[in-house]
Symmetry: C2
Subunit: 121 residues, 2 copies
């Protein structure tokens, strides 16, 4: 049960919602968030264009529709810019390799600890 003794493990009882974000931190977070969102949307555009270019049968149309609906919902869910959930959002983006830790440089350790924790899940 080594993880119980990790000195850097965040205090799971600290309420993430009570974290205070400075203006500088908010600017850093917003920038990293927007960059990841635009990158992910750009990937959807590219995949859509590849799928559309190879449509042969009507079923390919509805497959494209379903792909778009799924991706829209996933992106809406994932990119939730509320400070109360942002460490979790960034954790997922770090885990997926969509945000690199150096983009988050300048955030205080209280946020980074949570982000690293969520990134490991």
């Amino acid at each position: 049960m080594a993880h119980l003794h990790q000195p850097e493990a965040p205090d799971t009882y600290t309420d993430i919602r009570n974290l205070r974000w400075s203006q500088t931190e908010k600017a850093i977070a917003r920038k990293a968030f927007e960059r990841a969102l635009q990158k992910e949307l750009h990937e959807v555009i590219q995949k859509t264009q590849r799928m559309a270019a190879t449509i042969e049968h009507p079923s390919d149309l509805w497959e494209l529709e379903s792909f778009l609906t799924t991706r829209r919902k996933e992106i809406d869910d994932k990119f939730d810019y509320r400070y109360s959930v942002l460490p979790d959002v960034f954790g997922e983006l770090v885990r997926e390799g969509r945000v690199h830790e150096d983009e988050l440089r300048g955030l205080a350790e209280d946020k980074l600890a949570y982000i690293r924790k969520f990134a490991r899940f």
Copy 2:
């Protein structure tokens, strides 16, 4: 109120559901129906490919998704191959120029009268 006296107006009290379709008529109907359906689906494919090729912004993605959803539902509604509604279906297709009357040659006058009636709506 001239339309009340049109000599060729179908008897609106005749139940379309009671029309009897011969095997030959069914084959003619099926062929015209399938041709119109495939043509309409092909148009959706072409428009999808044009829309996809010109996507610039994420909003264009969701516009494409919405277009596909709308067209899928419209086509599902319109192409209803039940003999009980087929004269109405063909009427709409004739009105839209998607089926030409000569594709329906061989149907008996009882069906054609209804089809023409619906086509005028």
